[in-house]
Structure formats: structure tokens, C-alpha cells
């Protein structure tokens, strides 16, 4: 299937500052793609390029197989910026009417689109209210609706959940799922990683303008994080020294230490992901040696830990010129 978004060697410079450095991005059609990165990583620059608002210094962008031009971006993309503004002196329906007119809609079609979008974002009840009287969450939904007036197949949302309360976030998440079910490809950037983990099908982590890892969320987590860390709780304090000695002898254990707040809790870092049998073997060895284990849990890294670890390692690797291929298809790829 044709990719919804594809960038090849995408590079952008702001004078001497390299904002994007040969970025490879592949987003499949009909998925919600989470774009993660620290401040200044190049997320907004990427989204602005995809929306046709910036011309890249180098590289190629394809949207649904079509080479990016300003005209193609206007037709194929709905864009919601990070800091979006609203026209305070307009009513809710006038706001959508204005943007619909910008896309050449007129007459009965124009009225129909405005009504449908108000229903979709659950603002039909606020139709005649002035935009300035809406809550932040409602304004966010209205702004999202504005990006949909021309029924684009691709939606680019820059930090759509920022500044929203938990309820508004849940509503937004539901709305994004509805849009995905309508066949839209959604690419969104966010700092709220737990948010992305719940709604995204695929993620990409960008740092210093380079793609660190990209792929389906489950595969990324499995490949990078499964069993990389385990937590062990020992019933008797006297067994802690023995347990530490036994674990340090294990070839796969890279580090082990007691939690400062709870000396009977040990945190074990493994040098590579462990499968369930390996976990069971370690546990059996401890029990056989007489260590009273009350709790053992191999824990996957959550998205936040993954993000922090990967962006930190990129910082260390910065300067190396290794190009990173990112594949959002079947296999997740990691920059090492």
C-alpha cells in the first residue's frame, strides 16, 4: 500500500542551525502516528514542511505517493499548529465557515460541511457562541475541525493535547480514534507520552533532527524494552547480600542494586531482552539457593522511559554520521 507520508533524506537548516538532518519517515495510511521528541528536536519543523509551510533545504517528501508541493499539501493535509489562534470576534459556525470558504466551498455544501463538523467535534450546541467564550478544550476541538473542512486524508496535529484537562484529553483521544476509523492518517506530536501510548498505532522518536526509532508501537516496545529490567523483592533482609552475589554472577545481568528507599527491593538491569524461560531460570536459581523471593516482575519500559533512554543515548552518539533508516512497516528500526 502507498505510504501516507514518506520523507527521504529530509534536511532543513535555519541559517547555521540544522533542524532536520536527513530524516527518514514512513507513515502508513490509516494509522495514528505519534511523533515524539524533546524541545528543539525538529518536530514542528517536520510538520510545517509536511503542511507546505516550509520548503526543506534538501530531501524529498511524498504524500500518498505524490511529491510534495504547496498545492498538494493544501489539498491533502489538514494542519493544526502547536500554538493555534482563534478569531475571537467570530461565532463558532462563522469560524468554520471562514476556513471552508478558504478551501473554495460554497452554497449548500458549505453549510453541510460546517454542520457535519460541528457534530463531529461535539460543538453543535455552541454553534452561535463566540469563539472567545469557549473553553480551551472546545477551542482545541474547533481548531481540529478547521483542519477537516476540506476532508483531507492526512491530519498533522502539533501538540494537540497540550493545555487540556484530563477530561478534554479523553475526548480528544476518542475524536482521534473516530477520525482514524474514518480512514484518516493522523500524525501528531506530543510531550504527553502516556497519551500517545494509548492512542497511537506507531511512533517515531526524533532527536537533534534525526529519527532515533520508528515503527509500530508494540514492536518498538518489544524490540527495545521487553524484559530489559526486572524488579525483585526479597522477604528477609538477611538474604539480600546472597541474592546480590548470585545475580551479579549471571551473564545477562548488567547491573543490580537495591532501591534506596527499600533495601529489600532489587532492581536488575539486563544487557539484552530476556524471554520468559530465561526469567524463570534466574528465579529458580535464586529460590534453589534459599533466597526467599516474595515478588519478581520483568517489566517493560514505558514510553516515557524509552524516550528518555533513547534521546539520552542519541546525545552521546551525537556527532556520529551514521544514517538511520526508520521503517514503520513490519519492523521497527533503531539507531544504535
Amino acid at each position: 500500500m502507498t505510504l501516507a507520508i514518506e520523507t527521504i533524506d529530509l534536511t532543513h537548516r535555519y541559517k547555521k542551525l540544522v533542524a532536520l538532518d536527513r530524516l527518514h519517515l514512513r507513515v502508513e495510511q490509516g494509522c495514528i502516528y505519534g511523533f515524539i521528541g524533546p524541545n528543539g528536536a525538529g518536530k514542528t519543523t517536520t510538520l510545517r514542511i509536511l503542511a507546505g509551510l516550509l520548503t526543506p533545504t534538501k530531501g524529498e517528501v511524498r504524500l500518498l505517493g505524490e511529491r510534495l508541493t504547496t498545492r498538494a499539501a493544501q489539498r491533502l493535509v489538514g494542519y493544526m499548529p502547536d500554538f493555534f489562534g482563534v478569531y475571537d470576534d467570530l461565532r463558532v459556525w462563522e469560524y468554520l465557515d471562514f476556513f471552508a470558504r478558504c478551501y473554495g466551498l460554497r452554497g449548500a455544501r458549505l453549510r453541510q460541511v460546517v454542520d457535519e463538523l460541528l457534530d463531529l467535534v461535539d460543538l453543535a450546541g455552541k454553534r452561535d457562541a463566540f469563539v472567545q467564550t469557549l473553553s480551551r478544550g472546545m477551542q482545541q476541538r474547533l481548531c481540529l475541525a478547521h483542519a477537516l473542512v476540506h476532508d483531507p486524508p492526512i491530519l498533522l496535529l502539533d501538540e494537540p493535547a497540550s493545555g487540556l484537562d484530563p477530561r478534554a484529553r479523553v475526548e480528544l483521544r476518542e475524536l482521534l480514534r473516530t477520525l482514524r476509523d474514518m480512514g484518516k492518517t493522523i500524525m501528531l506530536s506530543s510531550h504527553i507520552l502516556s497519551e500517545l501510548a494509548e492512542v497511537c498505532d506507531a511512533i517515531g522518536i526524533i532527536d537533534h533532527g534525526r529519527m532515533v526509532i520508528s515503527g509500530p508501537l508494540a514492536e518498538v516496545q518489544q524490540q527495545i524494552a521487553t524484559g530489559a529490567r526486572a524488579r525483585l523483592r526479597i522477604a528477609r533482609e538477611s538474604d539480600v547480600v546472597l541474592a546480590l552475589a548470585l545475580l551479579q554472577r549471571q551473564p545477562l545481568v548488567s547491573a543490580v542494586g537495591a532501591a534506596p528507599a527499600d533495601p529489600r527491593s532489587l532492581v536488575i538491569d539486563f544487557s539484552e531482552p530476556l524471554d520468559e524461560e530465561q526469567c524463570a531460570a534466574i528465579l529458580a536459581e535464586l529460590v534453589k539457593a534459599g533466597v526467599a523471593v516474595s515478588e519478581f516482575s520483568a517489566r517493560s519500559e514505558n514510553l516515557e522511559e524509552l524516550f528518555l533512554r533513547l534521546t539520552a543515548s542519541v546525545g552521546q552518539l551525537d556527532g556520529q554520521a551514521a544514517a538511520v533508516g526508520a521503517n514503520a512497516g513490519n519492523t521497527a528500526s533503531v539507531r544504535r
Binding site: 493544501q74 489539498r75 470558504r101
Partner: protein
Amino acid sequence: MATQIRGPLLNPILVREARTRMRGFRPYLILTIFLLLLILSAFGIYQYMVFQARTGMVVLSSHIGQALFRGLAFTEMFFIVLVAPILTSGAISGERERLTYDMLLATPLRPGQMLAGKLIGALSYLLLLIVASIPVFSTVLIFGGVELRTLVWVILLLGSAALFFGTIGLFCSSLFGRTTPATIASYVVVLILCGVPLLIASIWPQFSNPMGQSPPPWLLYLNPFSAIVAVTTVTPTTAQPDVPFFSPSDPFMVVPFLSQFSVGVVRYAPEGPVLMPVYRATLLGFWLGTFVLLWFSSHLALPARRWRPRWSDLGFIAVIGAIALFIWMRIEWWWIVPPVDPWLMPPEPMPVPIEPAPLP
């Protein structure tokens, strides 16, 4: 799949401006202040003319009509020059400040359409002010004395000034990221265009070489006030060297401040005072300036690759070229050649009688 994008039937910015321009109290406040200013001007001029009549001056009905028309046209021009830049100086910078500019740029709306929508929106408000002033202006009809030709010229000047000064605000708005610097910059340009030429014209005789020469008319080409003074000054139908050119009942001559706006418009030739028709050049200058500034603004409004040539540039070049050609074709009409100051004219040589040569 995405809707096929068509061009908008009506400029969306214009539709939005039409919806929001009259919202809130500000537009009504401006309208009220404007009408009050006009009514006060009309009342003041009328009282002044009555006072003149009471002191024994001959004040005809047509004198009052002309003075009222002139005063009101001047006040209206003053208001347009003051308000037009404010209405447009937030056009682009306001969108940037409001963080809606990216959203606009992501739509198929072109910068030219944005600028046109904003400018027409602002001008339509100014048109509303002009239309609202018709009842006040109609007091002139009670007294008469104003030619239809003068009325047409004044309307043309007011409309062109609204366009030109509105475009100055638009240009500054495109140039600066924020509205406050854009407004300040547009007022600096307005001050340079309106105040500086008059100041130079008033001190010109002291610094000219030889001293005492009249200021050149080109100095006042882009000054809207000089144009209003020139177009509303009533010239005597017949050469009457004994009758003063300006009636003492003319407020521009008697009120010291307002008389400054006449500097450079009137020249004194041996055959009597001559009125410089600088308003012709003013009108063409405003049109040319409007299109040049619009062209610059349409490039400055772009977020990137501002100065890359575009097809729309051809349209601007065609219009600017047409105006330049029009100027060139009627250069003698446009290029106002002032008469030489009488005292600078060389004295006529006295005929020297030639004595016949003595016969040998």
C-alpha cells in the same frame, strides 16, 4: 479523498471582515467621533463666516458654501489620513500575533487575496464614514458655490487617499511582525508625506538660491492636504489684478495654522496669482504608490522565499507600467510647470535709439 479545491467565489477575508468589522463598540465610536468632528467643523466655519459678515465684510452665500465645503473636505481628508493606516496596520501582523497566520497560509488562500480582502474591508469602512458624512456635507447645498467638477475631484482624492494610506498600513503590517511597530512606522511615513513637505515648503524661500523663491510644486505632489487646498480653492473667473485672490472670508487664509497648507500651492505671476494643480500629480502618485506598496506587501507577507518571481508579479508590473505609461503620455499635464517668480524675471531691455550714422 480530499475535496478538489476550487478558488473561493467571494474573498473569504472580505466575508469575515464584513461580518466582524462592525462588531463591538469601537467602529461606532470612531463613526461618532468622525461625525461630531465634521459637525463641529461645519458649525465653526459657519460661525466664523457670520462673524466676518458682522464685522462689515462682504460675505456672499457662495462664500459660505465654498468655505464649508473646503473645511469639511479638509476635515474628512485629515480623518482618512489618520484612520486608514490604523485600520490596516494590523492586517498581517495581527494574524501573526493572533497565531492564525500559519493556519491561513496552510489554506489555498494566496497572500494577494489576503491583502486585497484586508484592504477592501478597511476601505469599505472608510466608505461607510464617507457615506455617513453626506448629510453633513449636504449643508453646502443650502449655500451653493461649489462646482460639480470640484466635487468629483474631491471624491477622487478622498478615495485615492484612503487607498494609498490604507496600503501604507498594509505594507508596514507585512514588514513588521507586530502591530504596534507597524502602526508607529505607518504614522512616521504619514508624517513624512504630510508634514515634512509643508515644512520644507514654508522655509524654502529662506534657503533657496537666490533667496525668496517659491517652493517647487513637486514637493507637494504626495501631500493630500495640499491637493485638497489646490482643488477647493476658487480661482477668479476673470483676471482681476485689483481683487485679492483669496477672499478675506476664506478660513484658510485667515486662520494662521490652516493657511500653512496653502504654501506652495499658489504662485504669484506678473498676471496675478496662479493656482498650481498639484492634485493631478497627487492622484497619480497615490495610484502608483498603492500598487508599488501592494506589490512589496504581497512578497513580504510570504513566510519563505519572499522574493522569488511569481506569475502574479506580471499583473503588478502591467498595472504599474500602465500608470507609468499614462503619466508619460500626459507628461505635460502631469508635470506641473510653475511660472517663474516675477522678481526673478529679467527686466525687459529698454529700446536703445539707434542714431543714424553721420553722412560722410
